[in-house]
């Protein structure tokens, strides 16, 4: 396959898979509970804690944005990351591989479809949150926030490529690891508070994680009104991360497929 075909087939696969995700994802109404009501309850509990502590009022905006972004993260972690594993369990993976469509496209479709679904829900979380908890945002810096958001999503997608291969190769232990990791990640990416409350060392660790940088950038722009100039470092870091993670992710997919072909198990449901 030459590069043009590789990209074309990848995008076709992404189109197909996002169609499945969007159609299938909205056909069952349970998402309303998981992706709107639960995040709102979570936000509410933190907001009331902050209020009782007389925390600065902008913290409330922080929490709402954090809650909304977190659903994108869960989307990558659970939705995209588990894709290959579930395709295998359903007996689809062999057919998907033999189709010749590149796996990155399939996963991109999973991510985009999921992000589309999540976007609608995250928006409703923000709107309802703003309305109930009276948070205020700075609309003038919305474009910067949106750019940072998409860069963060690109980096998360690239990370998801590796996660998907890891889950497939170490299915059970992979699940357990990501369950164990999800709390520390929420903590370190500063879901409930600005990163600056951390000691420097922890801030450095957090900045290795694209969600933390993205969230920090979005908050700085929407809450403190920072613009392009002061957020350039955030954006550059996210671009670099996206590129490095993409390379690692594509390599991981290739490694996984070769391993599957050599050992003859990996992609079979009953093995």
């Amino acid at each position: 396959m030459n590069t043009r075909q590789y990209i074309y087939r990848g995008f076709k696969a992404a189109l197909g898979r996002s169609y499945v995700r969007i159609k299938g994802g909205n056909r069952e109404i349970s998402w309303l509970l998981w992706e709107v009501i639960l995040p709102l309850l979570m936000i509410a509990s933190v907001v009331y804690t902050y209020r009782s502590m007389n925390a600065p009022s902008e913290f409330i905006g922080f929490v709402i944005l954090g809650g909304a972004m977190m659903s994108f993260w869960f989307n990558v972690l659970w939705g995209m990351g588990s894709t290959l594993y579930w395709e295998k369990e359903k007996g689809n993976l062999e057919v998907l591989l033999a189709s010749g469509a590149p796996l990155y496209g399939l996963l991109l479709g999973m991510a985009l479809g999921g992000m589309f679904n999540t976007a609608v829900r995250a928006a409703s979380v923000i709107i309802i949150g703003v309305y109930i908890f009276e948070a205020s945002f700075n609309p003038a810096t919305l474009p910067v926030a949106i750019i940072i958001f998409f860069l963060a999503m690109a980096a998360l997608y690239s990370l998801g490529l590796s996660l998907a291969s890891i889950y497939l190769m170490y299915s059970r232990s992979g699940w357990r690891a990501s369950e164990l990791l999800s709390e520390p990640i929420m903590f370190i990416s500063g879901m409930y508070y600005p990163l600056s409350v951390f000691p420097i060392a922890l801030q450095v660790v957090a900045s290795a994680f694209p969600l933390a940088i993205g969230l920090d950038g979005i908050r700085r722009s929407l809450i403190y009104g920072e613009t392009f100039g002061s957020l350039a470092v955030h954006m550059i870091l996210l671009v670099v991360m996206a590129i490095i993670l993409l390379r690692i992710g594509l390599w991981a997919l290739e490694y996984m497929e070769n391993k599957a072909k050599k050992e003859g198990r990996l992609i079979l449901r009953w093995m």
Partner: protein, 327 residues
């Protein structure tokens, strides 16, 4: 390699390791499938049929030897191979249960690189060909096994492959559904030029009905190849008997000394309902008096003895010594 050869393997071998033990799933397999035919791999459970298909479909690497599909090397040019093949396994239902048959097929059409509209049109065409219009809008998790097999076959035809691999295409289907599938398979090869099917089966009759060329595979080795007529010719010197007996068990029959009795192959099947044991004998002599004596000595009651026309079952019996159904 000549252009007219759809599939070609040389000394193809695959070894699996399981718990320190080595399993030779394929052992120096040489096959050559000309374009435009239905080629059958006939063999019992564990013979290596699926392993061979998975290697040809680029899903598994051989341990040694090589294979070409559509003129491309399966190890070095998997993408090119994938662009000319498709693969359908019996009993599969690849797709998403929550979506309809039609929606699933459209997803696959995009995976195969068809245009957006082209995909929907192709689905209409295939629905016509496979007679599946009445369940196109039913969710995948609500259709019957027979419908699912048509759906899978439709998926297999979406990219208009030159070479189609079918692994046990009628597995688990009732008689009517299996017949429908066989009809479609035949029509597709015969109405299109240069389309090739490689199918696996462990049903003799299916292989005989469908295939232009058959390889019998046993324990990873190809033990005979030919057209159904040619293969049956291999037992033309033998005499085939079918004997029905009561009051005797399959184990009793196993006690017959094969070499002494002139038996080339023997298979039995017991029908618990009528309590009758059917014995199929491939003999290199027409004299079965000693076998009748053996049965009577064990107090067996012979109901009928008849000479029958050879089938592929008898070829397998002769080559392997036991029946295919005994696996």
């Amino acid at each position: 390699m000549e252009k007219e050869t759809a599939i070609f393997t040389r000394e193809l071998t695959r070894i699996f390791e399981r718990g320190g033990e080595k399993i030779r799933a394929l052992d120096n397999v040489n096959i050559e499938v000309p374009e435009g035919i239905i080629y059958g791999l006939l063999g019992p459970n564990g013979a290596g049929k699926t392993t061979l298909i998975r290697i040809l479909a680029t899903l598994l690497l051989p341990s040694s030897g090589f294979a070409y599909v559509g003129g491309y090397d399966v190890v070095r040019e998997p993408d090119k191979v994938r662009s000319v093949i498709n693969l359908v396994s019996g009993g599969e239902r690849a797709g998403y249960g929550i979506l309809t048959v039609k929606e699933n097929l459209w997803f696959y059409s995009q995976l195969y690189g068809l245009g957006i509209r082209e995909g929907w049109e192709k689905i209409e065409q295939l629905a016509e060909l496979l007679d599946m219009k009445d369940f196109l809008n039913v969710r995948l998790n609500r259709i019957s096994t027979g419908m699912a097999q048509k759906y899978s076959l439709a998926r297999g035809l979406l990219n208009d492959p030159d070479i189609l691999f079918l692994d046990e295409p009628t597995l688990g289907l009732d008689v009517g559904a299996a017949r429908a599938i066989r009809k479609i398979i035949k029509a597709w090869v015969h109405q299109n030029q240069n389309k090739t099917i490689l199918l696996t089966t462990h049903y003799m009759a299916e292989a005989e009905e469908l295939c232009d060329l058959i390889s019998i595979i046993h324990e990873g080795r190809i033990i005979a190849t030919g057209s159904p007529t040619e293969l049956k010719h291999r037992v033309s010197k033998e005499v085939i008997y079918k004997i029905e007996v009561k009051n005797i068990s399959e184990e009793d029959m196993g006690g017959l000394k094969k070499e002494e009795a002139g038996i080339v192959g023997l298979s039995t099947s017991y029908d618990a309902y009528s309590n009758v044991l059917s014995i199929r004998l491939v003999m290199d002599t027409s004299d079965v008096s000693h076998i009748i004596r053996y049965i009577e000595k064990l107090n067996g009651r012979i109901i009928s003895i008849s000479k029958v026309e050879p089938t592929l079952e008898d070829v397998f019996l002769k080559l392997v010594g036991v029946g295919l159904s005994e696996y």
